[in-house]
C-alpha cells in the first residue's frame, strides 16, 4: 500500500515538474510554438521519460558486488541488458551502413529508408540461418554426445564446479549445453520453417482457388476452415498430439513428423483465410475481368494475374505465420509433447533448465541459461516481426 502511495506522490511531483519545464521553456524561447501549444500531458510525458532515463543511468553505475562481496545479480543483469542493447544497435547500424554501400541499386535504395529495427531484424535472421545451416561445423560437440561430468556449471571455472571444455556447462545427463543450443537452431528453426512452408502450400493454394472459382468450392472450404478456427490452435494441437502420440507409439521421430503435419494443417486455415481475402481483393479488379472475358484459363488467372500481385502481403504473412508456428512448436516442446529427444530443441531445454533460475543470487550466468534458451526463441521471432512490421508499414505507406 505504501509503495502505491510513493508511486502516486512521485507522479504528482513529475506532473508539477512537467508544468515547470513547459513554463521555463515558454519563457526561455520567447513563446515558440513548440512550447506554446504543448499540452500539459505531453510535458508530463517528457519529464517522465527523462526521469526513467536518469534512474536507469543511476542504476547502471551501482557497484556490481554487494557489500558482502557476493555479486549483485540485479546490476549484473542490467549491465548485460544495456550492453546487449547497445551492441545490437551498433551492429544494426553498421549492417545498414554496409547495405547502403554494397549490393545492387535496388537493395541500396531499400536500405536507405530502412529503420534500425528492420536492419537489426534482417541481421539476426541472417545469423540464425547461418547458425542453423552450419550447426554441425559451429558446435564443438555432437548434440547427443554424453560426457562424464553432469551438471557442470557454466563459466568454465573449475574451482566452482565448471569445466573449461564446456563454456556453458553440461545438463543432467552430461551433454554439452553450448552444442545443444547451436543444434537447437537447426532443429527448432528448421522444423518450424518446414511446417510453415507446408502450411503455406496447403492454405495458399486452396485460398486462391476458392477466391478464383468461388461458388460451392469456396463455400465448403470456408465453412470447414470456420469450424477448425473455432477451436483455439494450441488446444487443438494438444488434442491432436495426444492422439498422435498413441499412433506413434515408441517411435519418437514419428511423433515429430506428426507434429509437423498437425501444426501445418491447423495453421493452413489461417493462411487460407488470408490468401482468400487477398485473392478476393484482386479478383474484383478490372484486369482480372478483362482476362476472364478474354477466355483465359484458371492456371493463367492464378499464376500470371493474381499471384504476382499477392506476393507482398503473402511474404509478410509468411513471416508472421513462421513466428506463430515457431512459438507453437516451442510451447509444445516446453510442455513436453513437441520435438522429442534426443533432438536438441530450445523449448525442451527451457523446461529442463528451468530450476537453475533459482541460483540467480549466487551465479547469474547459471540463472541465465534457461533465459538464454527462451531468449533464443524470442530473439528470432522479434527479429522476424521487426522486418514484417517494416514491410507492412512500407506497403501501407505506398497506398496513401
Amino acid at each position: 500500500m505504501t509503495a502505491l502511495l510513493y508511486i502516486l506522490a512521485a507522479l504528482v511531483i513529475l506532473l508539477a515538474l512537467g508544468w515547470l519545464a513547459r513554463f521555463v521553456g515558454q519563457k526561455a524561447t520567447g513563446n515558440k510554438p513548440l512550447f506554446r501549444d504543448m499540452p500539459l500531458a505531453v510535458a508530463f510525458g517528457y519529464v517522465l521519460g527523462a526521469a526513467i532515463v536518469i534512474a536507469g543511468i543511476w542504476y547502471y553505475f551501482q557497484p556490481v558486488t554487494t557489500e558482502q562481496g557476493t555479486p549483485d545479480a540485479g546490476v549484473t543483469f542490467f549491465h548485460w541488458a544495456v550492453h546487449g542493447f547497445i551492441l545490437a544497435a551498433i551492429a544494426a547500424f553498421l549492417f545498414r551502413l554496409l547495405g547502403r554501400h554494397v549490393g545492387t541499386a535496388g537493395s541500396k535504395k531499400l536500405f536507405r529508408h530502412m529503420p534500425l529495427t528492420a536492419a537489426f531484424g534482417i541481421l539476426v535472421i541472417i545469423l540464425y540461418a547461418f547458425t542453423a545451416i552450419f550447426a554441425g561445423v559451429l558446435a564443438p560437440y555432437g548434440q547427443e554426445e554424453v560426457f562424464a561430468q553432469v551438471n557442470a556449471l557454466p563459466g568454465g571455472d573449475a574451482s566452482v564446479g565448471g569445466n573449461p571444455d564446456h563454456p556453458l556447462g553440461t545438463d543432467q545427463i552430461g551433454r554439452d549445453l553450448m552444442s545443444r543450443l547451436i543444434y537447437g537452431a537447426q532443429n527448432t528453426v528448421g522444423i518450424a520453417f518446414a511446417t510453415t512452408l507446408i502450411a503455406f502450400l496447403l492454405g495458399g493454394s486452396l485460398g486462391f482457388l476458392a477466391a478464383t472459382i468461388q461458388g460451392w468450392l469456396d463455400q465448403v472450404l470456408s465453412r470447414v476452415v470456420d469450424v477448425l478456427m473455432a477451436i483455439p490452435s494450441l488446444i487443438f494441437a494438444l488434442l491432436l498430439m495426444t492422439i498422435a502420440s498413441a499412433w506413434a507409439g515408441s517411435q519418437q521421430w514419428l511423433l515429430t513428423v506428426y507434429m509437423v503435419v498437425i501444426i501445418a494443417v491447423i495453421d493452413s486455415t489461417r493462411v487460407f483465410r488470408l490468401a482468400r481475402a487477398v485473392g478476393m481483393n484482386i479478383v474484383v479488379m478490372d484486369y482480372i475481368e478483362a482476362a476472364k472475358l478474354r477466355g483465359e484459363g484458371l492456371g493463367y488467372l492464378i499464376f500470371r494475374e493474381i499471384l504476382p500481385n499477392a506476393t507482398a502481403p503473402l511474404l509478410a504473412e509468411f513471416g508472421l505465420r513462421f513466428c506463430f508456428v515457431f512459438l507453437t512448436i516451442a510451447a509444445l516442446s516446453f510442455l513436453g509433447v513437441g520435438i522429442q529427444p534426443p533432438l536438441a530443441d530450445w523449448g525442451t531445454m527451457v523446461r529442463d533448465l528451468a530450476q537453475f533460475i533459482n541460483f540467480a543470487a549466487f551465479s547469474p550466468l547459471t540463472a541465465a541459461l534457461p533465459i538464454m534458451a527462451a531468449g533464443a526463441i524470442a530473439l528470432l521471432t522479434v527479429a522476424v516481426n521487426f522486418v514484417v512490421d517494416w514491410m507492412l508499414q512500407k506497403s501501407s505507406g505506398l497506398k496513401e
Binding site: G74, F77, V227, P232, T242, I357, A360, T381, N385
Partner: protein, 331 residues
C-alpha cells in the same frame, strides 16, 4: 431495433451451431485413437475378459453415433464422463464405484481458478492496453509511440515462458516480492490468493496488453484519419472533445472487438503460463491429461476451451453490432 435483434439472433444460432460441430470434431478426433479406451486403460497385460468388461462398462461396444449422443447429452447435463486416471486409481485401490471420480467434479474447482486468473489479468490488461493504445495513436510517430512499438512487438514475439521466467527472475528470485509457485487452495483468503496469482497474471498481461494495445492504436489511427474528424477540427472543436465526442463513439466497436478477441487469446495463453507457475487451473490439468492420455479429461477440457473461445468471439461480434450506429438506426 428489430433488424438488429434479427442479426443478433442469427449470430447466436450460428454460434450454437459452431459449438455443436466443434463437439463433433473433438469427439471424432478422439475416436481416431488406435485400439480403444479399454486397452488403453488396462495396458498390455490385459485379459480379453477384462477388456470386454470395461468396454461394456464404458459403452464402447455401442455404435459411434450412439456414443456421441450419450456423450453430448451427458455434457449438456453437466456430466463429463469419468477420468481414466481416476477410474484406474479406484480400480487399483479396489473401491467399487470410484466415488466422485467424475471429470466434472475434477474440473470444476480448476475451472474457477482459471477464471480467477483470467479475470485478474483482464482487470489489469484491458484499461492499461486501451489507455496506452489511445495515447500511442494520439501521439503517433512520437518517441513514446516508437518505443511502445518496439516494446509491444518484442513482447508479442516472445514465448509466454520466456516472459514468465524473466518475471520470475526479477520479481521472485532477485527481489522476493511474489512467490514463483502459485499453489492455491480452496480455503485461501482473497488477499493471499491474489498475491499468489499476481505473477502469472502479470505474465499474461504482458502478452495480452501488447496485442490489445497495438490493435487499439491501429483502430484509433484509422478513425482519426476519417474526414469527420478533420471536419470536427475545422469546426473549432476542442481537442479533448474531438476524442470524447467524435472519436470514441465510433471507436467503441473496434475497441470492444479488440478486447474480446484478446480475451479469447488469453484462453490459450493460460495453458503455458499455468504450467510454468504450477497454477492449479484447467490448463495445467489439460497438459497433464494429454501426457498420460486421459481421454475423457482431454476431451472435456478441449470442449470447455473451445466453448469459451467461441463465446468470446460471439460476444465481440454482438457488441460491435450493437455499438455501430449505422446498424442501430436503420434507414
Amino acid at each position: 431495433m428489430n433488424a438488429v435483434l434479427k442479426i443478433i439472433l442469427q449470430r447466436l444460432a450460428l454460434g450454437v451451431l459452431t459449438l455443436f460441430i466443434v463437439s463433433i470434431v473433438i469427439f471424432l478426433a478422439v475416436n481416431m485413437l488406435p485400439g480403444d479406451f479399454a486397452e488403453a486403460i488396462l495396458g498390455q497385460g490385459a485379459t480379453p475378459e477384462a477388456v470386454a468388461a470395461i468396454r461394456r462398462d464404458l459403452g464402447l461396444d455401442q455404435p459411434l453415433v450412439v456414443r456421441y449422443w450419450d456423450w453430448l447429452s451427458g455434457v449438456l447435463q453437466g456430466d463429463l464422463g469419468n477420468s481414466f486416471a481416476q477410474a484406474n486409481f479406484s480400480a487399483f485401490v479396489g473401491s467399487e464405484s470410484g466415488g466422485n471420480a467424475g471429470v466434472a467434479q475434477q474440473i470444476a474447482p480448476r475451472f474457477a481458478n482459471t477464471m480467477f486468473l483470467a479475470g485478474v489479468t483482464a482487470c489489469i490488461a484491458v484499461p492499461l492496453a486501451v489507455g496506452l493504445g489511445v495515447l500511442a495513436a494520439l501521439y503517433r510517430n512520437s518517441a513514446f509511440d516508437k518505443a511502445a512499438n518496439v516494446f509491444t512487438l518484442s513482447s508479442i514475439s516472445s514465448p509466454e515462458f520466456f516472459l514468465a521466467y524473466v518475471l520470475i527472475l526479477f520479481l521472485a528470485v532477485l527481489n522476493p516480492m511474489l512467490p514463483s509457485l502459485s499453489n492455491i487452495y480452496p480455503d485461501m483468503g482473497i488477499a493471499e490468493r491474489l498475491q499468489k496469482t499476481l505473477l502469472p497474471a502479470l505474465t499474461l498481461t504482458l502478452v495480452v496488453t501488447a496485442h490489445m494495445m497495438r490493435m487499439t492504436r491501429a483502430a484509433i489511427i484509422n478513425l482519426l484519419a476519417s474526414p469527420y474528424i478533420e471536419m470536427a477540427r475545422l469546426k473549432g472543436v476542442k481537442p479533448l472533445r474531438i476524442i470524447t465526442h467524435h472519436a470514441l463513439p465510433n471507436a467503441l466497436a473496434p475497441i470492444i472487438n479488440v478486447i474480446a478477441l484478446n480475451l479469447a487469446y488469453l484462453i490459450t495463453g493460460v495453458v503455458v503460463v499455468e504450467v510454468v507457475f504450477v497454477y492449479p487451473g484447467i490448463g495445467q490439468l489439460f497438459v497433464d491429461s494429454v501426457k498420460i492420455r486421459d481421454i475423457p479429461v482431454v476431451q472435456a477440457c478441449c470442449l470447455i476451451f473451445a466453448a469459451a473461445y467461441i463465446l468470446l468471439n460471439l460476444l465481440a461480434d454482438i457488441l460491435s453490432i450493437l455499438s455501430n450506429p449505422r446498424l442501430r438506426h436503420k434507414r
